[in-house]
Amino acid sequence: MSFVDSILSSLSSLEMNYTLLLLIAVTIPGLIIFLLMTVNAIVAVYMERKISAFMQDRLGPMEVGIFGFKGGKRFWGGIGQTIADAIKLLAKEDIIPKDADKFMMILAPFIIFIASFITFVGVPLSQDFLISNFNIGILYILAMSSVGVIGIILAGWSSNNKWSLYGAMRAASQIISYEIPIAITLLLPVIISGGLDVHTIVDWQLQNRWLILHSPFTFIAFFIFFVSGIAETNRTPFDIPEAESELVAGWMTEYSGFRWSLFFLSEYTNMLIISLVASFVFLGGWGSPLTIINLLPGDYMYLDGPILGFFWLLLKAIALIFIMMWFRWTFPRLRVDQLMYLCWKVFIPFAIFNMLAVGVWEVLF
């Protein structure tokens, strides 16, 4: 039962025009996704700032407070900083260069935003909170997450700036390359659980064991998936498209204000999507981590359930986001050819070998 279905069924008792009903059933989840994306961006940016600050022996934002949470020398100091930043971004002047392709330049951020927006439709947040339940869930997520590249190329080309062009070309080649190992490693859970559906994969894990612990090959697969996911979201050590010290801001160079904040929003959404997918495909989804030990007497003690499931899934995702941030503030950046080497000569062969090995493993054990 997906979220859209439950809205439709609960509203069907009312005598309503079917088109109107459908419109309501689509708008409400859309608003919820948008809210989620915004909240995620605000929380994740605050988290990133604080984590980087603690790693670098700084304090991070300390002054801006909100709703009675005053700043000052407290742990949560500066909690209103990202909200203030968001307001600043929305109120900023919108600059479009004179020689830029105006239509394309306006269009590009929306394509990127829509790509991460509609990917979210297929990503579950708990067993009962899935916007729309496809029987091809994983395939849908894979397909929709690659739409964003079009927007990136458009943004880079239409800006009429050489730095943007470099950034866009780097981003496009990087994202297209790293989709292959992601796709191949996402086939493993499909082979093992026997379905593309999100529910099939998670239910298999809940009945048997988490996929990351299932066999050595799935562990490698998780590693490949996660690292490729970091590359897909353009984060350090793979932040080559927007390498600060080389291209300054890459394909986002000419953007400002609201359009830039859309890029920002979709970047953090992609991070969340990759973490959520990694959690529900490899880390047992909404299952409680306590099920790993499998020693507790009663079922109720595993703390499973629709609401706690949401909590567990989000916890796993946030842990993975934390690891991504940890990487960012620890590692230097790879060069563009080293990045391609890593993808085509290391990850893809390993992923293909992994897939074969998992097939053999499944037959033998």
């Binding site: 350090t236 050590p237 950046r333 790879l334 050819d337």
Partner: protein, 380 residues
């Protein structure tokens, strides 16, 4: 008509793309402009364009009394101002045959080596930033801050000190300076290990720097590359050893030389590690100086009037970037007739077009960062 002839190939222009890097760019270390001819990501030719920070230092000096040039020298290499004024003072003293009190020499060496630590620490942070590692940058800046605090207690200024004067230094060491410096060194040495673990042996860092921009011994010498960049190429040349000035001949320290541990001798990783090891040597020198620093008056040899005899002189000094030279022609007046500064970073930058040919844009940033240039000194 065959299919190929339908397309007029002469009309297809396959020029290199010219990319302007700078003068406003985070990784050009100041206002350097690089005109990069690129074929895709690969750099085919590179032209550094300098002069955006030209302040007529040498021409100014011709109209200033010798004492008043000191603050101007500070502003050339703003990351190692102590070296600039120290080198200038040595040149003037050479022309006037001034005998410097022992204590002054010790103080000068101590501040010079502290400055070298500060400058090299700055390099490590910024070089890490160039290859994408952000955290070491904040760590070394935190520690460099403490050196700057020490200088503040010593001179009252944080960046441009006007401390070393021809014939002496402006102030004697303040109270507790020695204990505070020793405290700092005790604190700093373990911090270095932390940076070392984060950067030096990091696999990605090695991938990005080893074998990149290999500078051969002969080419380095031909281009006039000096300082850590030259030593990284395997040439054991340090003016503190080879042509000792001040009291360096009494001190015991090693000259780190690039050995190509991670790649070829003279690559960017070597240029990094040489500076890293030099910090340790500087710490060693400062500790030795504190053991044997004599008492005395630091103002004893300050001349009433700086009026060198007729003639010219050239002094050499090992600054944190290389051989820093001052060539001064005197007419016997209280202003120099001509003052020429041999800027180490200028010669080091001149090798960049040779080094970065055929590498990628990211490598240009790495190579430029590893040469450790300061534009204030190049443009003067």
């Amino acid at each position: 008509m065959s299919k190929e002839n339908l397309i007029d190939k002469s009309s297809i222009n396959t020029d290199d793309m010219i990319l302007n890097m700078g003068p406003q760019h985070p990784s050009t270390h100041g206002v350097l402009r690089l005109k990069i001819h690129t074929d895709g990501e690969v750099v085919s030719k590179i032209e550094p364009i300098i002069g955006y920070l030209h302040r007529c230092f040498e021409k100014h000096s011709e109209n200033l009394p010798y004492e008043q040039i000191v603050p101007f020298t500070d502003r050339c290499d703003y990351l190692s101002s102590m070296h600039m004024s120290h080198a200038y003072s040595i040149a003037v003293e050479k022309m006037m045959d001034i005998e410097i009190p022992e204590r002054v020499e010790y103080i000068r060496v101590i501040v010079s080596e502290l400055q070298r630590i500060a400058s090299h620490a700055f390099f490590i942070g910024v070089f890490g930033l160039d290859v994408g590692a952000i955290t070491p940058f904040t760590w070394v800046f935190r520690d460099r801050e403490r050196i700057i605090d020490l200088f503040e207690t010593l001179t009252g200024a944080r960046l441009l000190y006007n401390y070393v004067w021809p014939g002496g230094v402006s102030h004697d060491l303040p109270e507790k300076f020695i204990t505070r410096t020793i405290e700092f060194l005790d604190y700093f040495e373990p911090q270095l290990i932390e940076v070392d673990e984060l950067l030096t042996t990091n696999k990605i860092f090695i991938e990005r720097t080893a074998d990149i921009g290999v500078l051969d011994k002969d080419i380095a010498i031909n281009y006039g590359v000096t300082g850590p960049a030259l030593r990284a190429s395997g040439v054991d040349f340090d003016l503190r050893k080879n042509e000792p000035y001040s009291i360096y001949d009494k001190l015991d320290f090693d000259v780190p030389v690039g050995r190509g541990e991670m790649g070829t001798v003279g690559d960017s990783w070597d240029r990094y590690i040489v500076r890293f090891l030099e910090i340790k040597e500087s710490i060693k020198i400062i500790r030795q100086c504190f053991k044997s620093i004599p008492e005395g008056d630091v103002h004893a040899a300050l001349p009433k009037k700086v009026r060198p005899r007729k003639g010219s002189t050239y002094s050499r000094f090992e600054s944190s970037r290389g051989e820093l030279g001052y060539y001064i022609i005197s007419d016997g007046k209280n202003v120099p007739t001509r003052l020429k500064m041999r800027s180490p970073a200028f010669s080091n930058l001149s090798v960049l077009p040779y080094l970065s040919e055929g590498w990628m844009i990211s490598d240009v940033i790495t190579i430029l960062g590893s040469l450790d240039i300061v534009l204030g000194e190049i443009d003067r």
